[in-house]
Each structure stands twice: as C-alpha cells, then as structure tokens.
Symmetry: C2
Subunit: 334 residues, 2 copies
C-alpha cells in the first residue's frame, strides 16, 4: 500500500523551494544557507490516548499530529521549516476505511495546516501492521536573531503571562487549537521575554516545570486564571468526572480544593489549571515588559497576567483573600 | 513512566557539543553554523514486521531503529548529525519487561551505535498505549562539499557496484548490519559517483527504482552478484520457504526462475536479489571510476561489479551464457 500512498503524496504534497530533494529519494535535503541554528522536535500520538479512531475524524487526527509539534516550535519561538511524518497504520480496515483511505485522510487534515504555517512536508514513512494507529511527526524549525525562548531563563519577580483561555479542551480545543507560532514570534521580537513554554499538560504542572528549570518557585493568582467557556461548561454539566474522558493518561496530584467545596466555579478553575492540551503559551517576563504587553494586547487572542516567579522553590496559589497556599502540580502525566 | 525514563535518559545520553539545547526543553537546538544543506530522513519500525518483541533482544531492536536511518544517510553520502527517537510502548509488561525496562533496553542498544557514528541524540517522545511496540527515528545529516548522492544521476553505460554480500539477512544481518556511512563518504570523496542508494528491499527491486529515477534501464550480470554465505545456507537448508520468516511484508514479483529448476545455487541467487534488509550500497558510476574502485578495493568490505545501466527501460538479467532475459523487480514491498 505504500506505493499507492507515495503516488498520492507526490500529487498532493506541494513543492517547497527550501526542499532541494523531497519525496522519492532516501532522504530529503533542505537548503539552510544563512541559518545558523535549527531546532528539532518530535511528538508521537497513539490511538486510545491522544485520539480515538472511529470517534474522531481522521483529518482532525492528522491535523493534531502536526499541530502539537508546531506548538513545541512556538514554545521555542522558532519558525517552522520542514516536517517528516511517520505513520503505523492498522492493517485491517477501521471505521476510517482501508489503510490507504486512513492515510490519505490524515494527510488531508495535516496538509492545510502545513500550508498555513509555511511548513514543508519533507518526507515520512508509512507502514501497515497488526496494531492501532500511531503517528509520529518530527519538525525542524529555525530560531530568530533573538535566539530561542527556553524554559530556563525565568527570574524571581518575573510576571507570568498566558495566551488565550484554559481548560475544557476535551470539548474540541485539543484538536482544533491554533499553534501559537505567530504569537510567540511577535512577543519574542517586540518585548523582553525571559522564559516560555507551551501548556500541554496543564498550567499547574507545566508552570512547575518552567519554575524548576529557571531555579525559581511560582505563585498563581487563582482569580486571574483565564478560564475557558468550555471549562465552565464542563464544570456545570458533569463536574470533574469529565476529566476521565480526555484520555487514559494518568492524572496526578490531589485536588487543592479537596474538602473546600466543589461548586462549579471551583471545578472550572480546576479544569483550567490541570486539563492539559491547551497548547497556549506560558511566558515569564520582567514586570515592565509584562505591563507593556498587557497594555498593548498585541495579539489576536488575550494575554493575561496569572502570577509571578518567586525566589523560594515550590508552587503556590494566591487566593482572592490574599492568602497563599501550596498548589499541587496537577496535570496530565503520560 | 515518562518521568522516570527522562531521568534515565539524562544520566545516560552523552552531551554533544553540537547540541546547544538538548533534553528538557520543548525542542532541541543544534548549532549548524557553516552548514548549508542538511538531509532529513525517518523510518518507522513495528513489532511483527521489522522485529518481534519476545524473540528479538530489545537492544538489537533499538540498534536497528537507528541503523536503518543511518543507512539512509549513507545512501545520500551524508554525515550523521542528530537524531530524535519516538517510541510507543505496550502498556502491559512484555517478554522484555515493564515499559520502562523495554525503553531502557532499546536505548542500551541504540546509544553505542549513536556514539560510533557521532550522532547526537537530540530528543524524543516516549509514550505507553494499548498496542505493540512502534519505534520511529528521524535523523538529521549534512552533505559534504561533493553534494548529496541521489538516485537520479545515473547514465546509460554506468557500471553498477555493490558493497558487501547480499541475501539471507533473516539469519541475523537484518539486525547486525553495518550502516555504510564511512564507505559512502570515502567513495563519494575519492571517485566520481553518478547515483547511489542503500539496498533495503532487495537488489532487484531497489535497482529498478534507481534505474527509473535515472531514466535508464539496468542489466544484472547474475553470476557476479555477491551471494552471502547466509543466503547459501538458507538455500541449502530450507529453500525459498525461509523467505516467509523475514516479515509479513508482501513479496512481489514472480520468480524469474519459475520452471527453471530450483537447485540451491539458483535459490541462493534469488535470496541475494530479493531478500532485502541488506543495507548495502548500490552505486552507479562511470566505467573508468568503477574500474578504479574495483582495482583499489578501498573499503574494508568488498566492492563488486554486478551490472550496468542501459538506455532502454526495464530490468534485465544477463545469464552465464551471455543471453539477456527480463528480470522481475522482486523484493519486499511494505
């Protein structure tokens, strides 16, 4: 089936001027003249964890396989260059059709996203086997003159900003999110950023990682966390049971609100702190730069001030009454 | 389990000076100063097709996952730079142990090979799921001043050379082969090569691809094909039934010897032409350069003259009596 699929690919994958050799040889060759540093990132998605063949449109699955990697490039403030996509396809037909039909549908979902982000599809490997669908994409990007945005540059006193709204991603956002490439490049070019990452496993868990890499602690100001309407909807409808639908990944950490009531506002906040798959940016930046970003609001999505880095290690939440309590790094561990 | 595994990786993956950012951030960053062109290649290996968990040592499986990609870089005459490795691990323990034990064993197999080939392990993604083991590796390499070796540069009259010996790879070579990086770089530097590739699916099938990309036909001189001792052993022991053990991939093409007898010499030749997973180099080079290579024998493995490219399309075999017959492009199609 790979022969037919490569034929389809040759007809449907656009030629890219950066690709000096593409499909059809043993490897792709990219012209990197003038580029000094590249970044390389990879994510592997599996049926039953990151998506469900039969329940989810394979076009959305294909899109997601690229989008999660684009989000990693955004986390580094890197421009997309090229991708290779490897797919292990179930040998027997699925709800998504024959292996060839499934492979084509995956590409029909990922090609428009690649075009939107000027990402060259440089190659891949597509095989059938007796197992569930697995997709692995690897992306090459380039950092700008400002260098990469890393997790380790934060300093005590930095304000913490997030793009967009958080939580409830199981209602659709985990497939349809916008990788924040343009947003990261714009912020990194115009303002002084110290550290950054994308929120893939939940604000609380990912912030604990950024703080640890920066040798700091962090405080989240709970009533400033931008809770998505989907998180509110989830909280109203089903309470925390809905968490279990996201995936079979393991949710870790005790609820910081255990015994503190379970009204829908509290549950919605919990979704925003821990659901994961937000793929929004988390940025640590000095207060004056942060204030400028908050005043300018230079993005098409909101930027919100949700806390700050502190010298003392650990993760804390500042409640509306001004008191500080420990915050467990709740989120999704794979 | 990914947390424990990343901890193990941080202790066991050597630091590489080309990696300006490695494990622990959203992407790896490589310094490419002075390098104009890079090549990117990926291969995905699945349980039941490329290896068998339980039957094959996971260290050999891990080694193979890198080695097949290194062979693709050799095919381009490119130097290895960096790799990312993504793994989908069965959630339940296998004959190879817990998911963590399996992941570590895979790396114990691939890390020594990476060191031998000066390949930086730049990152990866390791997840558990309800399915068989899948490994996908993506390698970044750099071409030399001589540019890449491609499939498309062959011309009528070029001699066809192969490294090593062919066939019978199921007896061990398909795991333990030497990626021909040094060999490709040396030949490409010292001699005029027109076209090249690695033999992954069998000489007959892969030669038909090289010839097609070069706009030529090809003739194989059957009594010059370097048949491996493993191919001879297989032919003596079990005849062509042994082919079926290699994998569940589909073998295509009729035997050119159908009805022409099935003595063990003929069967051994068939193994050499079609078994696949030889991962030797197939080179097309002008006769004077070819003669120099054959005279010098500059490699630690033999280089053999097995045929030539011709102007007429199609794949042919020249028999010991000098007659030409069509040769089916037999080999392994995935």
């Amino acid at each position: 089936m790979e022969v037919e699929f490569v034929r389809w690919l040759r007809d449907h994958v656009p030629r890219d001027p950066r690709l000096r050799l593409g499909l059809g040889d043993d490897a792709a060759m990219l012209s990197l003249a003038g580029r000094a540093d590249v970044v390389l990132t990879t994510d592997l998605l599996t049926d039953g964890v990151d998506f469900h063949v039969g329940a989810d449109d394979p076009r959305r699955i294909g899109r997601k396989a690229l989008a999660v990697n684009l989000s990693d490039l955004a986390a580094m403030a890197a421009r997309p260059l090229a991708a290779v996509v490897s797919i292990a396809l179930p040998r027997e037909p699925t709800a998504a059709g024959t292996p060839l039909e499934l492979a084509i549908a995956l590409y029909e979902g990922l090609l428009p996203l690649a075009a939107d982000y000027e990402l060259a599809i440089a190659g891949g490997d597509t095989n059938t086997y007796d197992g569930p669908l697995v997709i692995s994409a690897t992306l090459l990007g380039e950092v700008t003159d400002r260098g990469p945005l890393t997790r380790g540059g934060g300093r005590p006193g930095d304000w913490l900003l997030v793009t967009g709204t958080l939580g409830g991603t199981v209602l659709g956002h985990s497939f349809d999110f916008t990788p924040r490439i343009q947003e990261a490049l714009l912020l990194h070019e115009r303002y002084q950023l110290h550290a950054g990452m994308d929120i893939s496993d939940g604000l609380a868990l990912d912030l604990s990682r950024l703080a640890a890499e920066s040798g700091c602690g962090a405080v989240v100001i709970t009533d400033r966390v931008p809770v998505s309407s989907a998180a509110i909807e989830l909280a109203k409808k089903a309470g925390s049971e809905a968490c279990g639908e996201l995936s079979r990944a393991e949710q870790v950490g005790d609820s910081p609100w255990r015994g503190a009531g379970s009204d829908s506002t509290t549950l919605a906040l919990r979704h925003a702190l821990s659901d994961g798959e937000d793929f929004e940016l988390l940025i640590a930046t000095p207060p004056d730069a942060a204030a400028a970003i908050l005043r300018d609001q230079p993005l098409t999505c909101p930027v919100t001030h949700v806390g700050e880095l502190i010298a003392d290690a650990g993760l804390w939440q500042q409640l509306p009454d001004g008191s500080r309590q420990p915050l467990e790094p709740i989120g999704w561990l794979h």
